[in-house]
C-alpha cells in the first residue's frame, strides 16, 4: 500500500506526463519522450533538469550507431514520488466520491 503524498514538483502537467511516461519504462530515449509529448528539445531539457536535480530521474548520454543519444530513466526516488502522487490523486477522487454518495 503506497502512502498518498502529493508532489508539487511532479504535479504540473508537463512534468506529470514525463514522469508517467518514464514510470512505464525501464528507460526511454530523449527523442521518444520529446515526440510523445510534442515538445521542443530545449523545453524538454529544462523539464529534465528540474526532475534530475532532486534525483527523480537520471540522464545518461551515450553513442550508438555513430549518433549521440540521451537515455532517461526514473530513479527509485522518482518512482516512489510518482506512486505517492498517484495515490494522493486517487485519494482526492475517492474522498469526493464518498462525500457525494
Amino acid at each position: 500500500m503506497v502512502e498518498p503524498r502529493f508532489d508539487e514538483l511532479i504535479h504540473p502537467s508537463t512534468r506529470l506526463s514525463i514522469v508517467a511516461l518514464l514510470a512505464s519504462t525501464d528507460w526511454a530515449e530523449f527523442s521518444f519522450v520529446r515526440d510523445r509529448l510534442a515538445m521542443s528539445d530545449s523545453a524538454l531539457s529544462k523539464q529534465f533538469a528540474a526532475l534530475e536535480e532532486p534525483g527523480y530521474i537520471t540522464v545518461e548520454r551515450h553513442v550508438s550507431q555513430h549518433r549521440r543519444r540521451v537515455r532517461v530513466s526514473l530513479t527509485e526516488v522518482g518512482r516512489r514520488a510518482f506512486e505517492g502522487h498517484v495515490a494522493a490523486l486517487q485519494a482526492v477522487i475517492s474522498s469526493t466520491a464518498s462525500r457525494t454518495s
Partner: protein
C-alpha cells in the same frame, strides 16, 4: 492531509497518466526485423530441402533453430520492439514468447502440410513454394499477432 486540488483536476491528472501509459503499451512489440529474418530462413530452408543434400537440410535446420534459440530470449519479451525505449516488465504479458512460439509451431506444421500438398499436385519445388507461402504469412501475420497482444495489454490496463 489531502492536497488542495479539485476532484476535476485530480481526474484530469489521472487521465493524463493513463494516456501516457497507453503510449508506452503501444510500443510493446518484437523488432520488425525479426519477422523478416524468420521469413528469410523459412525460404532458405525450403530451397535447401529442394536442392540440397539431406545432410545440408538437416544441418541448416539445426543451425537455424540454434540461431533462433539464441536471439529469441532477447526479442520475444515484447519489451524492446523499439530501440527508443524498454517497456517495463509489469506492463508486458509473460505469455508473449509462448504466443509467438505457438504461432511458429503452427507455421511449421502448415509448411509441412503445404509442401505435401504441392508435392501431391506435382510441383517441381514443393518445399520452396511452401516456404515462400508460409514466409509471406509470417511477415504479414507476425505484426498482426503482436497487435492482438497489444490490444490485450491495453484491455488489461483499462
Amino acid at each position: 492531509m489531502l492536497p488542495k486540488i479539485s476532484e476535476t483536476e485530480a481526474r484530469l491528472a489521472m487521465s493524463s497518466i493513463e494516456r501516457r501509459r497507453q503510449q508506452v503499451v503501444a510500443e510493446i512489440n518484437v523488432p520488425p526485423w525479426y519477422w523478416f529474418v524468420l521469413a528469410g530462413g523459412w525460404v532458405g530452408l525450403g530451397v535447401l530441402a529442394d536442392y540440397g543434400p539431406v545432410w545440408a537440410t538437416t544441418a541448416g535446420t539445426l543451425l537455424f533453430g540454434a540461431a533462433h534459440a539464441t536471439i529469441a530470449p532477447r526479442v520475444l519479451s515484447g519489451r524492446r520492439g523499439s530501440p527508443r525505449l524498454s517497456v517495463r516488465g509489469d506492463l508486458v504479458s509473460r505469455r508473449i514468447p509462448l504466443v509467438v512460439i505457438g504461432f511458429l509451431m503452427i507455421m511449421i506444421m502448415a509448411t509441412i502440410g503445404a509442401a505435401l500438398l504441392f508435392n501431391a499436385d506435382g510441383a517441381r519445388h514443393p518445399a520452396t513454394l511452401a516456404g515462400v507461402v508460409i514466409a509471406a504469412i509470417v511477415v504479414c501475420g507476425g505484426p498482426s499477432l503482436m497487435g492482438w497482444v497489444r490490444r490485450g495489454a491495453e484491455q488489461h490496463l483499462s
